[in-house]
Point group: C2
Chain length 345, copies 2
């Protein structure tokens, strides 16, 4: 550690300047009884003057919490640059926690095993008061660890799979129903689903909701392929889909990158979007507007999602019993990549 010539102001310094004890200063600073209003205001005055802030270390040591919450993002660093979800999510989190003097401790690692280790480290080093858990998987090992450590946590995902932990979920099933209904309205009878990785809970939720909605409306999901959310895997999946018989006339893609890939695959066969194939993306990002053609998408406010998760976690951390909640359902934004089913289908 570099030596630092400038001394940080401490309570002792305020005590000395105001001629009272350190204890009194603490009471005054925390708005507790035990000091006269007069000395209190003198103390506050001096504190402001010298720019005093409580030492995070001392507070944490005392057991007063670290004013820090943690998020581990399990992604290949290279992928992060293009994945719009996390930055928007983090921005939403920041909006809430910075107001309350909390900070976000971030870790990016591609290794899932490392996450458990990080949780343990953060816990035993007392670095965070609470944790955001994203990319919920079925029978997720992280849940057990968080419960074992009794580390306050907010799960970002379906409450049904959160094993009792507070969860902030999105209504993916509702969005899926809306999407299928829209496609059915346009006359499509055979649709495909380019899903995300199978291990994620929300992948399963979406698949089932799409399937159920399709049955209800008397149309068919002729093809479901799992991707890894990358553009390439989307293109490959769409290619396979186009080979299959009977061929779908519309596809729902679990994220925007795979949707762009799908458009590319269609084009390389001289199929036009949306004339020959309707494409609907999930998780509307700026990418959907930039794509050629602009992509219709199930749009949700990811940043608001972060806001909701942060509110819940802070509540939990402060001893409240935050209730899980589900922010608004995604809405279908039509940008023109959906069309009536081609004649003869």
């Amino acid at each position: 550690m570099a030596s630092r010539g400038v001394r940080r102001p401490t309570i002792a310094e305020i005590a000395e300047r105001t001629g009272v004890s350190a204890g009194a200063v603490s009471y005054a600073l925390n708005g507790r009884p035990g000091v006269s209003e007069e000395t209190r205001s003198r103390i506050l005055q001096v504190a402001r003057e010298i720019g005093w802030m409580p030492s995070a270390a001392a507070r944490a040591l005392r057991g007063g919490g670290t004013s820090t919450v943690g998020l581990v993002i399990t992604r290949e660093p290279a992928v992060l640059g293009i994945e719009p979800f996390f930055m928007a999510f983090v921005a939403g989190i920041e909006q809430v926690i910075s107001e309350e003097g909390y900070a976000l401790l971030l870790q990016v690692t591609a290794d899932p095993a490392r996450v458990l280790q990080t949780y343990r480290e953060w816990w035993s080093a007392n670095r965070v008061d609470g944790i955001f858990l994203t990319d919920l998987e079925r029978s997720d090992a992280r849940l057990g660890l968080l419960k074992e450590l009794e580390l306050p946590a907010v799960v970002v995902g379906d409450p049904a799979f959160a094993e009792g932990l507070c969860a902030v979920g999105s209504d993916d099933a509702g969005a899926a129903r809306a999407a299928v209904a829209k496609l059915a309205d346009l006359g499509h009878r055979r649709i495909a689903h380019l899903a995300g990785p199978d291990r994620f809970v929300h992948t399963r939720v979406r698949s089932e909701a799409i399937g159920a909605a399709a049955r209800e409306l008397g149309i068919e999901v002729v093809c479901e392929i799992h991707t890894d959310y990358s553009l390439d895997s989307g293109a490959r999946a769409c290619d396979r889909m186009l080979d299959a018989q009977p061929r779908a006339t519309a596809i729902i893609c679990d994220n925007d990158l795979t949707a762009v890939g799908a458009v590319r695959a269609a084009r390389s066969r001289d199929l036009q979007v949306p004339r020959d194939l309707s494409v609907l993306a999930w998780d509307d990002s700026p990418l959907c507007q930039l794509a050629e053609p602009p992509l219709s998408a199930l749009s949700r406010d990811v940043s608001a999602y972060g806001v909701a998760a942060a509110r819940a976690l802070l509540d939990l951390v402060k001893g409240g019993d935050a209730v899980g909640l589900t922010p608004s359902t995604a809405t279908l934004v039509d940008r023109g990549s959906l069309a009536q089913v081609p004649a003869g289908n």
Copy 2:
């Protein structure tokens, strides 16, 4: 703060289990002389078993550093989702610091005044050992504050404007020269520059380098317009550029979003890229590959940039005298948005 039933393992617990004093345990854990090899290994063994980690709070309180470095991102939360720079940069930082047991404290705020306040808060609360400073501006107020607080910092930007602080810069001037040379090679005699915001140091650096290179090669920069890096401002700027006489036949855009905007503006006048207008983007991101047409770009490894900055900061924080350095110059990746100058120009 929520009560936590599970007790964090402490040095005292290890001392009790091994039957030695807490002091001895500390010596053993830190690899210092004063304990026999035998007891040392017993202590290490027990420490591993119960999963001991030093309390970050206690260490920080003792003056041993916080094992945390900070980054304040000054952006509108909404913009962050599409700006690929920061996520890639953060990923690079993480790669280095997580290896060394450091964590990244992040703050996202749109308010530039707030940054100074955050630096002060982080300093007086002793929350970070060092800071990354991005988006360097000319006569940047943050530099003075960091020096006043003697807070170790690495400036991400041109060393010439870092006022003595350690800087990790990119060789924008070199990249600019390469870009202009390429355009001159293709026969362009009049080029335009869609620059970034004027207040940023690197904007000025690029403008001057482009101007100098153009003079040297006997071609002309007929138009330079500042944008705010958004797609819309890029489109508007390109529109203005296309109105001007004499009209440029190629444009260099300071980021990828404005380049996409420029392509759009050109298209809305029925100009084709690259036949009628060559477009070159800076800061290659996946967007350049996704655009229609794919955009040629000055590509640099942003993640490696983060790696270099993190290495420098950790060195500094640990008392080393990190030297500023400049990672490799961006290379021009041609994806087909550049072409020979149209006939008659």
